[in-house]
């Protein structure tokens, strides 16, 4: 599988990473998938629910809240996710993956990313170093959940 994204989608993910630095940003990738590739049609930026520690902790508790915050963790509000998904379905689109940033950290999945990952989705990570977006990679969880496999990103020219 590969992930097809237009320049404008990559720009939007990088800009979101820079805007929310030093915190982690997150968002949804909407598009269409066949057996060979996922094609992103729209990138939807969302708020990092770890900004609201009380609500986030209720939904998905952190093991070490003293060392974990929106600086190094993200969580998507499931209700926002549901709304985006519904709106997408009405337009014949599916959720093909998600993106998040790694502030001052490489664009490689962490153990925490792997433990929380779902199969099939593309997980795009953008590294943001001192506020400047750097490497951008995409990953898919291996069938046995033991690791992430890096996925090829096919960059398409922006649509008008």
């Amino acid at each position: 599988m590969s992930l097809k994204l237009a320049d404008q989608h990559l720009d939007s993910i990088r800009a979101h990473g820079a805007r929310d630095y030093p915190n982690e940003c997150c968002g949804i990738l909407l598009g269409k998938a066949d057996d060979n590739a996922k094609q992103v049609v729209e990138v939807v930026p969302l708020a990092n629910l770890r900004h609201d520690p009380k609500r986030a902790q209720e939904l998905l508790p952190l093991a070490e809240p003293a060392r974990e915050s929106e600086r190094n963790r993200f969580l998507i509000d499931p209700l926002e996710q549901l709304k985006v998904e519904k709106h997408a379905r009405a337009r014949g689109l599916d959720v093909v993956g998600y993106y998040h940033s790694h502030p001052d950290h490489p664009a490689r999945p962490s153990t925490y990313d792997r433990v929380h990952a779902w199969p099939w989705y593309s997980y795009v990570i953008v590294a943001v170093a001192r506020g400047v977006p750097k490497a951008l990679t995409s990953w898919v969880l291996a069938e046995d959940r033991s690791r992430f496999k890096e996925e090829e990103i096919l960059q398409l020219p922006s649509s008008a």
């Binding site: 982690e24 998938a33 998905l60 190094n72 499931p78 790694h102 153990t111």
Partner: protein, 99 residues
């Protein structure tokens, strides 16, 4: 009564590639039990070994999180829509954020 269960993209491969499945059930628990009986590969993605809903799985009845209703005992009505919403979380490595 007939209700619809919406299957998120990563779980469709375990549900006959369908995006929605109609089930007869009177509670959320019954609907999820019916679903995982019909599609047994779904079970390990939704439930822990001791049969509890996994932490990483959110279940919505129409637009409400069942955590804030009667959890899996929430009663259903004709044409209700149950959505399985995967928890999406991640992050970089642990670091001290105390200072």
């Amino acid at each position: 009564m007939p209700v619809k269960v919406i299957i998120p993209t990563p779980l469709r491969q375990y549900a006959g590639k369908q995006d929605a499945i109609e089930i007869q059930a009177t509670t959320v628990a019954e609907a999820l039990a019916g679903l995982t009986t019909q599609y047994s590969d779904l079970r390990k993605h939704l439930f822990t070994e001791d049969g509890k809903l996994r932490n990483f799985v959110n279940v919505y009845l129409n637009d409400e999180d069942i955590r804030y209703l009667k959890k899996d005992q929430t009663p259903l009505h004709d044409n209700d829509v149950i959505s399985i919403v995967p928890s999406i979380a991640g992050g970089s490595h642990l670091r001290c954020i105390c200072s």
